[in-house]
């Protein structure tokens, strides 16, 4: 197992307080993880932190997708960690890498494309606009789609979308 020092640096930089290096693998995160429980630890936050801290990039990204994408982002691990490690921040970095590699589940590319094209994750639709009216609600204030897509294009994020 080889350490990728560039990847390790990104992990340490992501965690502003730097306490990730104090992880002593107590397993509180995995013990309290609702997904670990229903998958017999196929999703294992403790293992992700260990691999990330050691810079074992290949071990993380060549594993089954669920090793990264099983996280349900409930932030329970963050709260129960005795070392105050913000695990969910590290997991976000792993997921960002997986997206850039083109390996993420379809949902994430689809949602990003919808936001890029509509400035909303769920675009406005006539049936709901009518329902809003019936309920006595004002129309949703329309976002500036052009400004938002320009912002994302300037940052090169449109290149990560699939089918572009």
């Amino acid at each position: 197992m080889a350490t990728d020092f560039e990847f390790r640096k990104q992990v340490l930089d992501m965690h502003m307080s730097g306490v990730i290096k104090y992880c002593y693998q107590c397993n509180r995160c995995t013990d309290n993880c609702p997904v670990a429980e229903v998958t017999d630890n196929a999703y294992n936050p403790r293992q992700n932190i260990l691999n990330a801290l050691l810079g074992f990039k290949d071990a993380i990204f060549s594993a089954e997708k669920i090793a990264i994408w099983g996280c349900t982002i409930c932030d329970t691990c963050d709260e129960v960690c005795p070392q105050n490690i913000e695990l969910t921040e590290i997991f976000k970095l792993l997921k960002n890498h997986s997206v850039a590699n083109g390996d993420a589940p379809d949902f994430y590319y689809l949602q990003a494309k919808t936001i890029f094209e509509n400035a909303k994750a769920i675009p406005s639709q006539p049936a709901i606009e009518r329902r809003r009216e019936q309920l006595g609600l004002p129309a949703v204030a329309a976002p500036d789609v052009n400004e938002l897509s320009t912002l994302l294009k300037n940052m090169g994020i449109d290149k990560k979308l699939k089918g572009e």
């Binding site: 502003m16 609702p34 997904v35 229903v38 998958t39 999703y43 997708k65 669920i66 994408w69 099983g70 996280c71 349900t72 982002i73 409930c74 932030d75 329970t76 963050d78 709260e79 129960v80 913000e86 969910t88 976000k92 997921k95 960002n96 997206v99 589940p105 949902f107 994430y108 949602q111 990003a112 936001i115 400035a119 909303k120 994750a121 769920i122 675009p123 406005s124 639709q125 709901i128 329902r131 809003r132 019936q134 309920l135 006595g136 609600l137 004002p138 949703v140 204030a141 329309a142 976002p143 500036d144 400004e147 938002l148 320009t150 912002l151 994302l152 300037n154 940052m155 994020i157 990560k160």
Partner: protein, 289 residues
């Protein structure tokens, strides 16, 4: 009370607007003033944040800048939106390198993030108005047994959300009690609804949902109350599938907390659009009378 910028979010605004209806009605009764702004997607802390962190920060900062330009705090109706907007605000206030990087991008579209406003989840605002809620409750929900699900992102991560105890939340329970209903403890109050993992692994989301609904059922609750539209959809929309999958009946009525408060205030169910719920709520409405 100062006016807030209303952040209804994509899911409530463009899919389940009846939640916004009950929120607006109770805000009116409680004297919570709001106005609109052309906000984009927050964006989704369980979706787009995982797609690209810097893009998530930039879109979030742009939304904050829209409210900053009017000098008004944001009131959010959704756990996801308040989680994103608070996390982005927190990150950029504490990380100058990131703030400079994001502001460099924002300047190209004529915007600037300054970090001058706060973001509030509507439940934490209501928590400060318990007496007013009690006093406006003309039809107390006496005898109604309510299980509470505040949802992960109402209070976690706690050092950023700064609302409730992250593992033993009480805000929602106190609001339910202020409406005259009885809070039923079921032991899984802080368990995730399973919505996020369902985006990639539907089966695992259903397994978590089963654990949750089993506990609510066993505790004998009449209904489950939530304050997040993603949790609402998971509970309200998926119980039928859950019943099929596990060959066991699940039909717990689901309410948004604003709906219960509104019913207690005597606002007719017709005006709240409760008919748009997937779970059957008529028995509860009858019980309340």
């Amino acid at each position: 009370m100062a006016e807030y910028k209303m952040f209804e979010g994509c899911l409530i605004g463009n899919r389940i607007p009846f939640i916004e209806a009950s929120c607006r009605k109770i805000f009116d009764k409680l004297g919570i003033a709001t106005s609109q702004a052309p906000f984009s997607c927050c964006p989704d802390p369980t979706g787009f944040a995982n797609f690209d962190n810097d893009g998530w920060l930039a879109i979030g900062a742009r939304n904050l800048a829209l409210a900053e330009s009017e000098g008004k705090d944001i009131i959010s109706l959704c756990n996801g939106c308040s989680n994103t907007l608070k996390l982005v605000n927190h990150t950029l206030k504490h990380d100058n390198l990131k703030k400079d990087k994001i502001n460099k991008e924002l300047s190209k579209i004529g915007k600037e993030y300054k970090g001058t406003i706060d973001v509030k989840h509507f439940v934490s605002v209501l928590k400060g108005e318990l007496e007013k809620i009690k006093n406006s409750t003309v039809k107390p929900l006496s005898g109604l047994k309510v299980a509470c699900h505040p949802g992960c992102h109402y209070m976690r991560p706690s050092e950023v959300m700064e609302t409730d105890d992250p593992m033993h939340p009480i805000d929602l329970k106190e609001i339910v009690a202020a409406c005259g209903a009885t809070v039923v403890d079921y032991g899984e109050e802080t368990l995730c609804c399973g919505s996020s993992v369902s985006n990639a692994y539907e089966d695992h989301g259903m397994a978590i949902l089963k654990k949750k609904m089993d506990a609510v059922k066993k505790a004998g609750a009449d209904c489950l109350v939530v304050n997040c539209p993603a949790c609402f959809q998971q509970f309200d929309g998926k119980q039928r599938d859950l019943s099929k999958k596990f060959e066991e009946e699940f039909k717990i009525p689901i309410f948004y907390i604003s709906e219960l408060i509104a019913l207690g205030m005597g606002i007719p169910a017709d005006e709240l659009g409760t008919k748009f719920h997937r779970t059957r709520v008529s028995d509860i409405l009858e019980k309340i009378g």
